[in-house]
């Protein structure tokens, strides 16, 4: 260890590097390129990942949407092509059967209506919802609050509207909370205004009213248009989807093999596709980065080998003057490690700079392709350590070559 802190060792390295400027620069570029690629690729991959995460945004990704269509198989005396609806009975059945797996279950009814406030009006989607919807698709409220359980049980005529709707229906500067708007000629009190959601938005501009109120006002009886089911984090959402459909089929006397009766969209599997893609990207990044790094380290070994060959005579002189094979080896390994380390540090710095540039070019604004392209410090640290270890190992080869030649033969070399 003393050897490392000996200024003479470094003096020797400085001398040898100064003597071989070009090969030193070329060597450094090899490794620099490797770690540079690793840093930039990892950062870009991370940026993409962050970008995707932003698209999914506030939505609980472990979710599946289920609705009814027409049957495609006759069953239990029913013709094919039968239409039917989900109902509150189904909700209870699902809750009792899959209570441990389902985190949230939100039945929804939707229609489209004219909304009027004073002399302003517009046609928007109206949605009857449970308060739990806010858990599945988080609303960013600018004013007020979302629908709560009280509104549900009191059949309150209250509504939560979007910022765009607010701008369209209200004069500038008017506080909308407590104001009334007419939906389908019935007065509703505005209790909240939500801003645009980050990422996926299922509903667009929608006036949310309590599910119970919707049921009464639109006379939908027990029918449910569709429902959103969010599973617990550890539940296999694909499995849950088919289980739920099977249960619903038996409840509605639909053939178990019926492919059309229930429609569904599984956000979980869609999301999984993205995550798989990202994992693939990460793997590719590591593979390319490490491979380039190894190539760079081999280049260092190769060039050191040539240098050793070039310096055979010098090494011979040194040995005649009393250099032990160990001191020669140490010198060459230290040189290798020093070069890899310097190259590695430069590569990380340049990689960081490029990520900074990428971030300022592609990482800004709402629909940025790459969001916050960064690389974790521990990952850099591991890559760096790997580099030093590889540098040492590769240095062993020329170091061995330097000492395997007998001093007498080395001296004879011209």
């Amino acid at each position: 260890m003393k050897f490392l802190f000996d200024s003479d060792s470094w003096q020797e390295i400085y001398g040898s590097i100064r003597k071989n400027k070009i090969r030193t620069v070329i060597t450094i570029i090899g490794v620099l390129w490797g770690i540079f690629l690793l840093v930039v690729l990892l950062g870009a991959a991370r940026g993409m990942e962050n970008g995707f995460k932003k698209i999914f945004g506030d939505f609980a990704t472990n979710s599946v949407f289920v609705w009814t269509q027409r049957t495609d198989t006759p069953f239990k005396g029913f013709q094919k092509g039968r239409r039917f609806s989900l109902n509150s009975n189904d909700i209870e059945a699902l809750k009792s059967e899959y209570g441990d797996k389902i985190k949230f279950l939100a039945p929804r009814n939707q229609t489209s209506n004219l909304l009027v406030h004073n002399f302003k009006s517009g046609t928007f989607q109206v949605s009857g919802d449970y308060p739990v919807l806010d858990m599945i698709q988080k609303k960013k409220l600018i004013y007020g609050r979302f629908i709560n359980q009280n509104d549900m049980s009191s059949y309150a005529k209250v509504t939560v509207i979007s910022e765009d709707m607010y701008k369209q229906l209200f004069d500038k500067g008017v506080v909308p909370i407590g104001e009334y708007i007419k939906i389908n000629s019935i007065n509703y009190k505005v209790i909240g205004v939500y801003g645009p959601s980050q990422g996926i938005d299922l509903d667009g501009d929608t006036a949310y009213i309590p599910f119970s109120t919707f049921k009464k006002v639109y006379n939908t009886a027990d029918d449910i248009d569709w429902m959103v089911i969010t599973a617990d984090q550890n539940t296999d959402i694909k499995q849950l989807e088919s289980d739920i459909k099977l249960t619903l089929k038996s409840l509605h006397k639909v053939h178990p093999e019926d492919k059309r009766a229930f429609g569904s969209f599984n956000l979980g599997t869609e999301f999984a596709k993205f995550t798989d893609f990202l994992t693939g990207m990460q793997f590719l990044t590591w593979f390319v980065g490490i491979a380039t790094l190894i190539a760079g380290v081999f280049a260092i070994g190769n060039i050191l080998l040539i240098t050793v060959k070039e310096r055979t005579k010098e090494i011979g002189i040194r040995r005649a003057l009393g250099a032990t094979p160990k001191s020669i080896r140490q010198q060459i390994i230290l040189e290798s490690v020093f070069l890899t380390t310097v190259a590695g540090m430069l590569g990380i710095v340049f990689g960081g700079l490029i990520l900074f540039v990428i971030d300022s070019l592609f990482g800004q604004g709402e629909d940025a392709a790459l969001v916050n392209p960064t690389v974790n410090i521990p990952i850099i640290f591991i890559a760096f350590i790997t580099l030093i270890v590889l540098g040492t190992l590769i240095g062993l080869i020329p170091a061995h070559m330097a000492t395997v030649v007998k001093p007498i033969e080395a001296l004879r070399e011209e």
């Binding site: 200024s7 003479d8 003096q11 001398g15 040898s16 100064r18 003597k19 005579k313 010098e314 002189i317 040194r318 040995r319 005649a320 003057l321 009393g322 250099a323 032990t324 094979p325 160990k326 001191s327 000492t403 007998k406 001093p407 007498i408 001296l411």
Partner: protein
């Protein structure tokens, strides 16, 4: 100081082997100034390499400073070289990217001496060979004679027991040859054992004992006029 008994050495050349040294007996005492004469191929360089621990002998005994040289590994050989031997080569063998003083200081580096101390000692020895003013010049800025004097300073810097010079004047003209020989004589006068290999009669005449080799055997071993004059 150096005692050689029935030394044999052969080199493999293809399937055959070339018998270079065929039983050399030689005893060099401390403070002697010996030259080995011989035409090329006589085995004189091989002898010097063996004496200098750069090569190993096949048969016979070699005692350096009373120590039997046998089964040396590279590390031990390096330490012995550093401790007991100083080398002067025909082609100087200075390290081109190091200054004169750094070249002289190099053996001290391998001895483990710190930089300040060894540069100071190196400078003293450069002064001794008359090159103090050239201490910070690179070898390619020096003349042949100056280079060889730097090499001699380097050989002396560890205070070795023996200075081994392999054709020290082979690459020099007659004027610089004389100055280098004067330097070697001066070193010898201070009590250093000097062992020179040469094929020049004029050089050999200036040493105190001439050993003539031919085809791997010693054909004569006699003191010169220079020795008798003392």
């Amino acid at each position: 100081m150096i005692k050689i008994e029935k030394l044999h050495k052969s080199y493999p050349i293809g399937k055959d082997s070339l018998h270079v040294l065929k039983g050399i007996d030689l005893h060099i005492k401390e403070g002697e100034f010996v030259s080995i004469m011989g035409s090329s191929g006589s085995g004189k360089s091989t002898l010097l390499n063996i004496v200098g621990l750069l090569d190993i002998h096949d048969e016979g005994n070699y005692y350096l400073n009373g120590q039997l040289i046998k089964d040396l590994n590279e590390k031990k050989a390096a330490i012995l070289r550093n401790k007991f031997l100083g080398f002067v080569f025909q082609s100087f063998n200075l390290i081109s990217y190091k200054t004169a003083v750094e070249n002289v200081a190099l053996p001290l580096y391998y001895k483990g001496m710190n930089r300040k101390e060894r540069l100071q000692i190196a400078l003293e020895y450069l002064e001794k060979v008359g090159l103090k003013d050239w201490a910070n010049h690179l070898p390619n800025e020096l003349s042949g004679g100056q280079k060889q004097r730097v090499a001699i300073a380097r050989a002396l810097v560890t205070k070795p027991k023996v200075v081994l010079a392999d054709e020290p004047t082979g690459a020099l003209d007659s004027t610089t040859t004389d100055s280098v020989m004067d330097l070697l004589k001066a070193i010898n006068d201070e009590g250093m054992t000097v062992f020179v290999i040469t094929h020049e009669e004029e050089v050999a005449e200036q040493t105190k004992r001439v050993v003539r080799l031919k085809d791997g055997v010693i054909i004569s071993d006699e003191f010169t006029k220079a020795a008798k004059a003392v």
